[in-house]
């Protein structure tokens, strides 16, 4: 049998469901062809601690892996160790929370566009006129900054839109709900919500404050938010939901396999982000009424141009689906 490629996944953090699904997809893929026969995989978690993640990548270098997939605790904090890995001939692919060093190939969606798309939708929905709140992400991170900049670029074009408050939701439903609950009662009527993450928490705080019906909302891909699009807790919301897809890890894995097999060039990949609106949301496909609100619905892709299709059990339990797993990388 041909020698298997050793591919290690360095995951900075495992404390939210997005990351869990991402790791589960990776686990499932390792049990499916073509990866099952070509890849020997391993995965690690570093508790959101950059120096630990850096040390773990050192460990991977010591283990002489062929490729390292990185979801980084810091866009810059791992640059040094990644350069070392690169210098030792190891292929490094960073995805989701990508690193800045050119020594790593990047697989991601476009975060500026993320913020911009949400904002454009809100602006259009409210006719370029009204009060909007922005619920932002974790301060000091690139993703947060990029998404905010994307949004601001849109607001500038709409003088009728007033951003009555910007506050952090830290991409976490509980935090977003708490902060919204604290501030909402003292805010004027809200016509639109722009939210980077924790969207369902924001909406629940609106309900608790009796600010119903809920205003049009552009947010992340939490299952809870999408339930609101279907109708949930007596409310139905007009919304746009964009997900950072957990299957980025599969794109990274496939890219690694192809590059190691020399069937694909070394290059960054930006994949389109999947999104749904209240008009297109569909139970069992893009929303799962049986599942928790914090579940990330975009673990798989749909439609004719889907990047990858996997079953819900792969995301939930890391169990492989039938047959082979096909990940579509952009045409060279």
């Amino acid at each position: 049998a041909p020698k298997k490629f050793k591919i290690a996944l360095s995951n900075s953090y495992i404390g939210n469901e997005w990351r869990i699904e991402m790791v589960n997809l990776f686990k499932a893929a390792l049990e499916m062809e073509p990866y099952k026969s070509q890849v020997e995989g391993s995965y690690f978690n570093s508790g959101n601690n950059v120096s630990q993640e850096s040390q773990q990548i050192s460990g991977m270098i010591a283990e002489r892996v062929d490729a390292i997939l990185v979801d980084a605790a810091s866009p810059t904090g791992l640059n040094g160790i990644i350069q070392q890995a690169h210098a030792r001939g190891i292929l490094v692919i960073s995805f989701d929370n990508v690193v800045t060093t050119p020594a790593a190939i990047k697989v991601n969606t476009d975060q500026f566009k993320f913020g911009e798309t949400l904002a454009t939708w809100v602006a259009k929905k409210i006719g370029g006129q009204g009060n909007v709140i922005m619920v932002t992400g974790v301060a000091g991170t690139t993703v947060n900054e990029q998404r905010n900049k994307g949004a601001e670029s849109v607001w500038q074009k709409h003088p009728g839109i007033k951003i009555v408050n910007r506050y952090a939701g830290d991409w976490d439903s509980a935090t977003a709900e708490k902060n919204t609950a604290a501030i909402l009662p003292s805010l004027p009527k809200i016509d639109g919500i722009w939210c980077q993450g924790g969207t369902d928490g924001v909406l629940k705080a609106f309900i608790a404050a009796k600010r119903t019906p809920l205003p049009p909302t552009a947010g992340e891909a939490e299952n809870g938010f999408r339930k609101f699009m279907l109708g949930y807790m007596g409310q139905k919301v007009d919304g746009l939901s964009i997900g950072q897809p957990p299957y980025l890890v599969l794109v990274a894995l496939e890219l690694a396999r192809r590059i190691l097999n020399k069937t694909y060039p070394r290059r960054d990949i930006t994949i389109p982000f999947p999104f749904v609106t209240d008009a297109t949301v569909k139970a069992g496909q893009t929303v799962f009424p049986q599942m928790t609100d914090s579940f990330f619905t975009d673990f798989t892709d749909s439609g004719p141009n889907a990047v990858v299709k996997v079953g819900v059990n792969a995301a939930l339990h890391g169990t492989p689906g039938p047959g082979t797993l096909t990940v579509h990388l952009p045409k060279v």
Binding site: N79, G80, A139, G140
Partner: protein
């Protein structure tokens, strides 16, 4: 005419016994470190079918250096019976400043390093003044300043980026040889000089009994301020090492150093009640913490259970240390 008390001299404990009693924390830290090293080599050997080499040594040392500096800084404050939760904030601030200011050359890197260390010292000064002059409890002072320093760091570097001159990286954390050991040795030497200075003695005196120290004429204000300033400076140094090994800056990556520096200090046998322990122990504690990460890595534990194992290892280390210590101390004299 002097009725001397010699006639009734009791048998004394032997010198070794006294030495052990005085350095119990350090001895424990050494023992745990030894165990950790052996465990690491064993696990590495079993997993990799070879012994760790230059690369492993270098990367372990390079990972340990920032923590060692932060832990020694923390140690100064803990010895005064304080605690510093703002370490992470100072690391962030230094890291962010380094990435923004250093530019391309080693010279500018070094010049800015000095400035950044001074900023760290200033952060420490603020902590020290609030604690010593403001008579506030250290844990809340530093909780407050943590928030301030983190805010400043984000102001300096709103999103990760910037660049560290490669020559500066090579100077601090050469990736090809465990050359950063020099800094650990220098740190230990500097400590032992400090330990033998007026301020060093005063520091211990304050940690032993602040009221007594005051009565003995120890300048509490000055000594505490020195302790917090050294702490701030060393935390800033940790930030520089972090920036150097990352080759760029991030205003949030230092946060973990707050708790890990405290853990290192405790593993190093420094008493959180002040006055007992040594920065050498804190360095050992930093190495132990680093080795535990390696052991868990090469032990290939289930990542979901990772923090479980970290917690268990920490407890085992402390309990085993305590048992060894108890046995040594109870050894018949």
């Amino acid at each position: 005419m002097q009725p001397d008390t010699t006639a009734d001299a009791l048998p004394r404990g032997n010198r070794l016994g006294h030495l052990i009693a005085q350095n119990i924390g350090l001895i424990l830290a050494g023992a745990i470190l030894l165990i950790a090293i052996v465990a690491f080599i064993l696990i590495y050997g079993i997993e990799q079918q070879r012994l760790p080499g230059n690369f492993e040594l270098t990367s372990t040392v390079n990972s340990a250096v920032p923590l060692a500096f932060a832990a020694v800084g923390q140690c100064f404050v803990v010895l005064t019976k304080g605690i510093d939760l703002s370490v992470g904030g100072v690391v962030d601030l230094a890291n962010a400043m380094a990435a923004v200011t250093m530019g391309k050359s080693l010279t500018s890197g070094l010049v800015w390093s000095v400035v950044i260390l001074m900023v760290g010292a200033a952060c420490g000064l603020v902590n020290g003044l609030l604690v010593a002059l403001g008579r506030l409890q250290p844990i809340v002072v530093t909780l407050g300043t943590l928030s301030i320093y983190q805010g400043l760091a984000i102001r300096v570097l709103p999103e990760p980026g910037g660049a560290i001159p490669p020559s500066f990286t090579n100077f601090l954390v050469n990736p090809n040889a465990p050359y950063a050991l020099i800094f650990i040795v220098l740190l230990a030497l500097a400590w032992s000089a400090f330990r033998r200075s007026r301020a060093g003695v005063d520091l211990y005196a304050i940690g032993n009994d602040e009221a007594a120290a005051r009565a003995l004429g120890v300048n509490i204000l000055r000594t505490k301020i020195i302790a917090y300033m050294l702490d701030g400076t060393l935390a800033a140094a940790a930030g520089l090492f972090l920036a150097a090994s990352a080759t760029a800056g991030d205003a949030t990556t230092g946060n973990s150093y707050t708790l890990s520096s405290i853990v290192a200090v405790v593993l190093g046998g420094v008493s959180l009640f002040g006055g007992r322990g040594s920065a050498i122990g804190a360095i050992a504690g930093a190495l132990i913490t680093t080795l535990i990460v390696n052991i868990l890595f090469f032990g290939h534990v289930n990542p979901l259970f990772q923090s479980f194992y970290e917690g268990v290892f920490l407890l085992i280390a402390v309990v085993v240390g305590g048992v060894i210590g108890g046995t040594i101390r109870r050894r018949p004299k």
